[in-house]
């Protein structure tokens, strides 16, 4: 065990997998000489050389499509998007080609690609750079979608994603890159995709969440415990697809009340899907309607103090949680 930042944990996962399997390559804009726009790949060029750590031109459709093609022939590319927001210019390559090629070939072709990069708001970069497309991605059967909240999860999940034979989309968070946590240095310690993690145990309310909202929910849970005598269980999904609904339902059976917290626009969000599944599969367990806290429904605002209020934050979670247990 060592204390690493989320950024270092991702780097460690990359480094270990690049060492383990020579078919793994890391590609993207500024990943090599510049050490990564967010310094995730710092030191990897020096360690693995330019054939394995590859700087690309600013051509997301071109280089992601190239990675998809290379993966069909057995390369295992890890493609960095400087921001997941830029997936829109490579949408066809990601969601037509990577997502569908196995199906349309009747199972003859695999696409073991990982596409990773940050997907979050909260950094005052405006609407074009603040997309959280996990719901859009997960809407496509054939793909896997991972959104880690902690350093340990980021490492263990990324390693699983790189070894996975299906296309895996790994959504990081620029605000979490500096967050520290205990991380195993065992190169064979993997966290399976599709396994949720109860980040805090409680009895009165289940908060289902993932990504940075896990941290907001834990902060709010502390206040709820101390000041309101409400015991909150925080379930971190970690993976959106496959989805560990069983862990969610087990928690609902205990608390009978649910709040979903997500950094998503509300319409047809991950939370919409969760709410449907919870009511469908645990209707009799619910003592009240399922509540949801999402991003306020508008493009991401630039104005720094206001953007904080547009996104979920501990105070907004606190308020929503109190409403949910009322």
């Amino acid at each position: 065990m060592a204390v690493l930042t989320y950024r270092e944990a991702i780097r460690a996962a990359l480094s270990e997998e690049l060492t383990r399997d020579e078919n793994v390559v890391l590609m993207g804009e500024e990943v090599a000489q510049f050490h990564g726009a967010y310094k995730v790949s710092e030191g990897l060029l020096e360690k693995f050389g330019p054939d394995r750590i590859v700087d690309t031109p600013i051509s997301e459709a071109g280089f992601i499509g190239m990675g998809v093609g290379a993966s069909m022939l057995g390369v295992r590319p890890v493609m960095e998007l400087m921001f997941w927001s830029f997936y829109s210019v490579a949408f066809d390559q990601i969601l037509n080609n990577a997502a569908n090629v196995r199906y349309m070939s009747g199972g003859l072709i695999n696409c073991p690609i990982v596409i990773r990069g940050p997907a979050n708001g909260g950094t005052n970069v405006g609407a074009t750079h603040s997309h959280t497309p996990e719901n859009v991605l997960a809407n496509h059967p054939g793909v896997k979608v991972i959104v880690p909240a902690t350093a340990a999860d980021a490492k263990g999940l990324l390693k699983s994603a790189i070894r996975d034979n299906d296309p895996c989309f790994f959504l990081e968070n620029t605000i979490l890159y500096g967050e520290k946590g205990e991380v195993s240095d065992d190169p064979e310690l993997l966290i399976p995709l599709g396994l949720a993690d109860v980040k805090r145990k409680g009895t009165d309310l289940t908060i289902v969440t993932y990504g940075r909202c896990v941290l907001h929910s834990l902060a709010a849970a502390d206040i709820l415990e101390k000041e309101h005598d409400v015991s909150v269980e925080v379930v971190d999904l970690r993976t959106i697809r496959p989805l560990d609904i069983d862990t969610v339902l087990a928690s609902v059976k205990k608390t009978h009340r649910v709040l979903i917290v997500e950094e998503q626009k509300p319409f047809a969000s991950v939370g919409s899907q969760l709410a449907y599944m919870i009511q469908r599969e645990a209707f009799d367990e619910l003592d009240g309607p399922i509540h949801r806290l999402a991003t306020i429904d508008a493009p991401a605002i630039y104005s720094p103090p206001v953007e904080v209020e547009q996104l979920p934050n501990p105070q907004r979670v606190l308020k929503a949680a109190l409403a949910a247990v009322e």
């Binding site: 190239m66 093609g69 069909m72 390559q93 037509n96």
Partner: protein, 363 residues
Amino acid sequence: MSKKAAPTAESKVSCTGQSASAPINANLSKEEKIELHRKMVRIRRFEERSLRSYQSKKIGGFLHLYIGQEAVAVGCCSLMGKNDHVITAYRDHGHAMAVGMDTKALMAELYGKITGCSKGKGGSMHYFAPSLNYWGGHGIVGGQIPLGTGLAYALKYKKLTGAAMAFMGDGAVNQGAVHEAYNLAALWNLPVIFVIENNGYSMGTSQERSSAGPGLAQRAEAYGMNWGTCFGHDIYEVRATMDKFLTLAREKHQPAVVEIDTYRYRGHSVADPDKTYRTREEIEEYRNTKDPIQLFQKTLLAEGVITEALIEQIDTEAKAEADLAADFAEASPFPTPDDIQKDVYWEADNADKRTSKGRLFFD
């Protein structure tokens, strides 16, 4: 608006020209030459048969026929070695047969049957055969070109001597993804040939109404890439031209854009009544003077390689093969609703090797 010719295509000599004496053609055995002819005939008869099945409503969706363009796919694919790969767009029946896919599985795919090459999950536009180095069959105009570039990247990364041929139409050259791929291929010296099958039209839009600049392949100059054009009605010329560029790709990792002048006799798809953008006379002119099968037949007769009787026999056999494929397709079962969720995830189909948890499918 009539078809615009590729810059140098008009002046090229057909059939008995220099390309016949190019070593890649001169060294062909009699049997190999007959095989080239047979492949083109088989493709044409297969497609004519598929059209009849479409008209009798056995086939749904789109059906984009390759009739008239056969010399391109057959010529290019006849040059493939062990590490050469092919990817193309939705007008993909010719390439599929050129690499050696079985007509029964191809026809069954059109019929939407479980015995189809993609188990009825892909349809006409999405044929694949990775074991024959054939990577589709892609429905989005230009979307396959980055993938083809990736095949070349993988070859180079694995230090294999081979090349990828990424086919597209004359309309696809105006897609951004194509230009991104050109840049990557040239920047990284990837062994890929971008093959533009210029049949003059993208649906009903002629080249002159869609593409600026003097020629389509010439755009390669902007990326410092090699380029060439060729008269695609003459299979010898296709082979001679492509051989040159394939050798440069395999041996020197030089990518290229090759524009092959060709023509489709049928509408864009069978749903196109083909009455608005070109004349009957134009189509007839091509049919009568530039048909790739007729031209090659004449050449082979002149070379003394083939006889009228053998031509007749090949044609009869090709028709019988197409009928047999249709019978096979007809007799095959459809997939069942239980098959809908198979072949989505590798992990779901290999449950014993699954490492992830949680639900993969939703309802």
